[in-house]
């Protein structure tokens, strides 16, 4: 029985691994002549030759030769960076959230909230994906924004390339919300909220010796091991260090509680939003908690965000906190570089802003082995820009995702081309 189960499990794993190959990368590509930034905002290489084979970067050299058989993308006079990674998105989960029907980013009446896994909901045909990727965003963290309580299930990292399987990392984090709204779902007060959170996590916390005995007992009683629930599996991964707890909190006092939570349990914690994070920047740095933030927050829009300021990102980076700049939900995920630019206007260095869209998120969400820098062995997520990527008047001229050059076309560019000259009316043509 148990052998059969194991085999079954293995075959499923193989099937998933197979499906995750999103295309065939027959083409070898050389990107030449541009100014490349190999590591976020650092590692500047002039007149760079970047070679891509089988979906991977094979080399980055200054003025290097192009082997025969490579298709050349001339990036002379242009900037070349790693494809950007937008965090805090709902890409693939939503289409027209307000008045359309499709919105898999919220699960208001789902019973099990920790175990929810967004990878089951991701739609690779979402029109938002081409709209976003032609702006140079090649990866995204995507996840739930609301459930019936304050646990937000498990978010994923996806790539925005071609193919049906966009999932790069399933269970990239477990989401948790600390806010007035969350407190009201827990009984009305943060006192109740934290009590429930601690109880849930203490319950799931593995106790090495007792755990083994408990398992034996359970096995004896049932004659077999109890199957762990989706929630138990998710929390086990958290305690095993395979995923992180991403906690959305804004008020400085709440953030200090998040720091205490990490100290208590010892697992990986990411702070999300963190509008007042700058007020406790040193504590966050000391606790090694990275922050995923919206760099544009500047208004006291609630009593939890009275300290909102666009200097947040700059102040956090200065204190040594690893940051990722979010891309604002779904349709505006593509505005992430503009958000980063505003952080630069308010005290973040350009280098740090580029890091916050590439190596920062790669590190925070555990993708550094395959993505985040332009170096041999990494996935070829590469963007050629007609100027400084962060500038508002700049846009990509070429985008590669896992070595596949995507067409810079979306529903929007198709509409644009249709109406560039109004003469087509009343005929509707492609």
């Amino acid at each position: 029985m148990s052998i059969l189960k194991t085999l079954k499990g293995a075959s499923v794993a193989v099937a998933i691994a197979g499906a995750s190959l999103s295309g065939v990368f027959a083409e070898d590509i050389a990107i030449t002549g541009g100014t490349a930034f190999t590591k976020g905002g650092k590692g500047k290489v002039e007149n760079a030759t970047i070679l891509v084979a089988d979906g991977k970067i094979t080399s980055v050299t200054a003025g290097g030769d192009v082997p025969s058989g490579y298709r050349v993308i001339d990036a002379s006079g242009q900037w070349v960076t790693v494809g950007l990674m937008a965090t805090g998105t709902t890409l693939g989960l939503t289409e027209v959230p307000l008045s359309g029907s499709l919105n898999d980013a919220t699960a208001g009446s789902a019973k099990n909230t920790i175990g929810l896994d967004v990878t089951y909901a991701i739609d690779p045909s979402s029109t938002l994906i081409p709209v976003t990727r032609i702006e140079g965003i090649t990866r995204a963290v995507t996840g739930l924004t609301n459930t019936k309580d304050y646990w937000l299930g498990q978010g994923a990292v996806i790539h925005l390339g071609n193919g049906f399987d966009l999932v790069e990392k399933q269970g990239a984090y477990i989401g948790l919300q600390i806010s007035e709204g969350a407190a009201s779902k827990a009984g009305g007060s943060r006192a109740a909220l934290w009590q429930e959170i601690y109880a849930k996590l203490e319950d799931a916390r593995p106790e090495p010796e007792a755990d083994a005995k408990g398992d034996e007992k359970a096995e004896k009683k049932d004659g077999k091991k109890k199957k762990p629930s989706a929630e138990a599996k998710a929390l086990k991964r958290l305690f095993d260090g395979k995923t992180s707890l991403m906690v959305t909190a804004n008020r400085a006092a709440d953030i200090l509680q998040v720091i205490r939570l990490k100290k208590h349990f010892g697992f990986n914690v990411i702070l999300n939003e963190g509008v007042e994070a700058w007020r406790v920047a040193d504590e966050l740095a000391k606790a090694d908690i990275p922050v995923v933030l919206d760099a544009l927050e500047s208004l006291p829009q609630s009593f939890e965000t009275l300290g909102a300021t666009q200097t947040n990102a700059g102040r956090l980076a200065k204190a040594g906190v690893t940051i990722a700049i979010t891309g604002k939900g779904s349709h505006n995920a593509r505005l992430m570089p503009q958000n980063a630019g505003n952080a630069v206007s308010n005290g973040l260095s350009w280098e740090a802003a580029m890091d916050a869209m590439t190596v920062g998120p790669a590190e925070i969400f555990g993708l550094s082995d395959s993505y985040g820098t332009l170096e041999a062995g990494k996935d070829a997520d590469i963007v050629v820009w007609d100027g400084d990527p962060i500038e508002v008047m700049t846009s990509p001229t070429a985008v590669l995702i896992k070595g596949d050059q995507i067409e810079l076309v979306s529903r929007q560019t198709r509409l644009r081309d249709r109406y560039l000259d109004l003469t087509r009316s009343p005929q509707f043509k492609k």
């Binding site: 008045s99 544009l296 909102a308 008047m393």
Partner: protein, 459 residues
């Protein structure tokens, strides 16, 4: 009472003609104190399509005194070296809910939609404006010198708008732009359907449920306004003919609708889809009024020629799209396409966040237009932020360009305002700084922010 008794005994003395005070909430705006200010050697966008390099701008007594080269500073003037910097007319946002959906956004502060019936032309948004909204200062930090507050879009007719100077005020009237005409907010499409179709917000009247229900609602409201106006006209005619007549009962709702028909109140029409806009152009012709602007207008690019022909402005986002069905066809080239067709293009925010960086929104739209071959200069693109919005609010004689005699509503930028790295350094309203990045201690701190974390930290 006594007078009535006397006239009664003396026989039928003539009553006075009753006329309606059109300005019962007059502006109490007064200029902030200012010194003459000369900005020298800057790159100047005049707001009507011109760019001058190495130019000076002189502001005095709240007005633009001169724009040119080698101007002399008057006695006592503040002189600012504008080398490497840019000067533009102040940004005017025609679509804001600051003050009526202020920060903090608590339910107690949600004063923007008079939900309950589809036509609420009787409400005036200025009566919801909380001048202590910290958003006004952030907007000033983004170069905004004037703005139109609009009621929300829950209703077919949402009520009257108000145009403000972006200055600190103790009462709402302190901010009212003197001489600005009133506007009315009307809304097409999904919102009125959503708010009323279920009956949730008006159990006695489950309409409008559809777009055709929307249109029926506007038409009936205008027809009622025509009848109301006829009553008043008859009263006036009869009075002038010497008849002993009493005036009709005032209907505050129909007063606004009649004001639209009379051309006194400018219509700002929230519509996204091209077909909705086309329908509204027909309603406009049926009742013979003028739609001043379509707001949001994500599909203006599909009918830009018709909008030019009908002299209707489009207030648009640079790139917002898709959050609802009627925004699904939003494209990044909407603004430049409208501009190219010769129609009036405006960049608007409808956002307490977006209003802080409308210059960047214009920059994005400009870049997207250029990428498909539209030859538009930065100087022309600035008309989307100042002159065109001023036109649509009926204040272009007073502000919107850097021309002698106009209000000194001016922004000094620390670089090219079409760059994300550029910030407004000083924002002047009528020649007085309302925000000064070089002098943060003098920047307004709203009452709400006093003693709170982040006090005065407006960046």
């Amino acid at each position: 009472m006594l007078a009535a008794g006397i006239t009664g005994s003396a026989g039928a003395q003539k009553r006075e003609l009753v006329t309606i005070n059109k300005d019962p909430f007059p502006s109490s705006y007064t200029r902030l104190e200012s010194v003459p200010t000369l900005i020298t050697n800057a790159t100047v966008l005049d707001g009507k399509g011109g760019l001058m390099e190495g130019a000076d701008v002189l502001m005095q007594d709240g007005k633009i005194k001169r724009v040119g080269k080698n101007l002399k500073a008057p006695r006592g003037a503040r002189t600012i070296d504008g080398t490497g910097k840019w000067v533009t007319p102040g940004i005017i946002d025609v679509h804001s809910h600051l003050g009526v959906y202020p920060s903090p956004g608590t339910q107690s502060h949600a004063d923007g939609n008079e939900i309950g019936e589809p036509v609420t032309a009787d409400v005036w948004v200025e009566h919801s404006n909380w001048p202590q909204d910290p958003g006004f200062v952030r907007a000033a930090a983004g170069g905004v010198t004037a703005l139109q507050l609009l009621p929300g879009s829950a209703n077919l007719v949402g009520g009257r708008s108000v145009t403000l100077k972006n200055v600190p005020g103790r009462v709402a009237q302190d901010m009212k732009f003197p001489g600005a005409p009133y506007g009315a907010k009307m809304a097409c499409g999904e919102n009125p359907k959503r708010v009323y179709g279920t009956g949730e917000n008006n159990p006695t009247l489950h309409r409008p449920y559809t777009r055709m229900g929307n249109v029926a609602g506007y038409r009936q409201a205008f027809a009622d306004a025509q009848a109301y106006q006829r009553e008043w006209d008859k009263y006036e005619r009869d009075f002038k003919a010497g008849k002993d007549v009493l005036p009709p009962k005032r209907d505050i709702n129909l007063e606004t609708m009649a004001g639209i028909l009379a051309g006194d109140i400018l219509v700002h029409m929230h519509c996204y889809r091209a077909d909705d806009m086309g329908t509204m152009l027909d309603v406009m012709k049926e009742f013979n009024y003028q739609i001043t602007s379509f707001q949001h207008a994500t599909e203006s690019y599909k009918i830009a020629d018709k909008l030019a022909e009908n002299n209707v402005c489009s207030a648009m986002w640079a790139d917002w799209w898709g959050f609802k069905m009627e925004a699904y066809d939003g494209i990044r080239e909407n603004i430049p396409f409208v501009h190219k067709a010769g129609a009036c293009a405006i960049v608007h925010s409808d956002s307490e966040e977006g209003i802080q960086r409308l210059n960047q929104e214009a920059a994005k739209a400009l870049a997207d237009g250029r990428k498909v071959g539209l030859d538009i200069s930065k100087a022309e693109a600035w008309t989307w932020l100042s002159l065109n919005p001023a036109k649509s609010l009926g204040i272009d004689k007073m502000t919107g360009t850097l021309e002698k005699g106009k209000d000194a509503d001016v922004v000094l930028w620390d670089g090219d305002p079409f760059s994300v790295y550029t910030s407004a350094e000083v924002t002047f309203v009528d020649g007085a700084p309302v925000y000064d990045r070089t002098n943060p201690d003098f920047n307004p701190v709203m009452d709400f922010e006093l003693g709170q974390p982040g006090e005065g930290d407006v960046e």
